[in-house]
Symmetry: C2
Subunit: 142 residues, 2 copies
């Protein structure tokens, strides 16, 4: 009886915890991807010596923290926005790539925190392998 | 003589460390402000229960780390973009507001890390006082 009550309670709670609306899910993952884009753009200005690199380690940290949010931002199967259906059709590959991104950007952030941009530079190419994933999983139109 | 050499060396180095181009400085601070905007938008979707709040503490951390970059992003006097000239004419006030933002968002991120969104909610209004500063220092046109 207690288990039945628990199940009934969960049935009430679980839908509240899922996405209320498809557009909200799309908006959320776009906020995540744009945050990464802004961090990379800031770091690129520094790598090109266009602005001082004082904040490089902080932007690397922002990128790493954001990358850590990406898998759960995409986990609900909600096609739309720029995400190709393959995000979910090939979830094993896609999510593995997000794990790799999270690990590589965390390593980049750690290196930048310890040694600044100069130390982090050799790791940037691997950490910022955006294109590999975008080519496969992002619609270029719209 | 050594001091003269040092001064000559500094004269060579210092300009390299400053902003190479006004548009780059504007682009950089816009990346900073947009990063904050994306973090706040993600947190707002969670506060409105439109998406799960699992990543709330991470977005609060992103906001706090970004806020910590803002003062140096604006420190060079480069009018343009959406920044009103008062940013630099009233630098004492503007920079004090950025210090307050950095402290409030750091406190918000700490609270969210320890107690999740529910614990952080009462602090959101104070931490996200974007409008107070935008009304004074941001051009709404363009």
């Amino acid at each position: 009886m207690k288990l039945v009550k628990l199940a009934a309670l969960l049935a009430l709670i679980v839908p509240m915890a899922s996405f209320a609306d498809d557009q909200d899910a799309i908006d959320y993952r776009e906020h995540v991807m744009k945050t990464m884009g802004e961090a990379v753009a800031a770091m690129a200005l520094m790598a090109q010596q266009k602005v001082p690199a004082d904040n490089f380690a902080l932007h690397a940290q922002i990128l790493a923290v954001t990358a850590a949010t990406a898998k759960s931002a995409f986990k609900e199967k909600v096609p739309g926005g720029k995400a190709k259906p393959d995000v979910w059709a090939k979830w094993d590959d896609f999510s593995k790539r997000l794990d790799t991104l999270a690990a590589a950007t965390a390593d980049l952030a750690k290196t930048a925190k310890e040694g600044g941009m100069t130390a982090a530079m050799p790791k940037m190419k691997d950490a910022l392998s955006c294109k590999g994933c975008h080519d496969l999983y992002r619609e270029e139109k719209k």
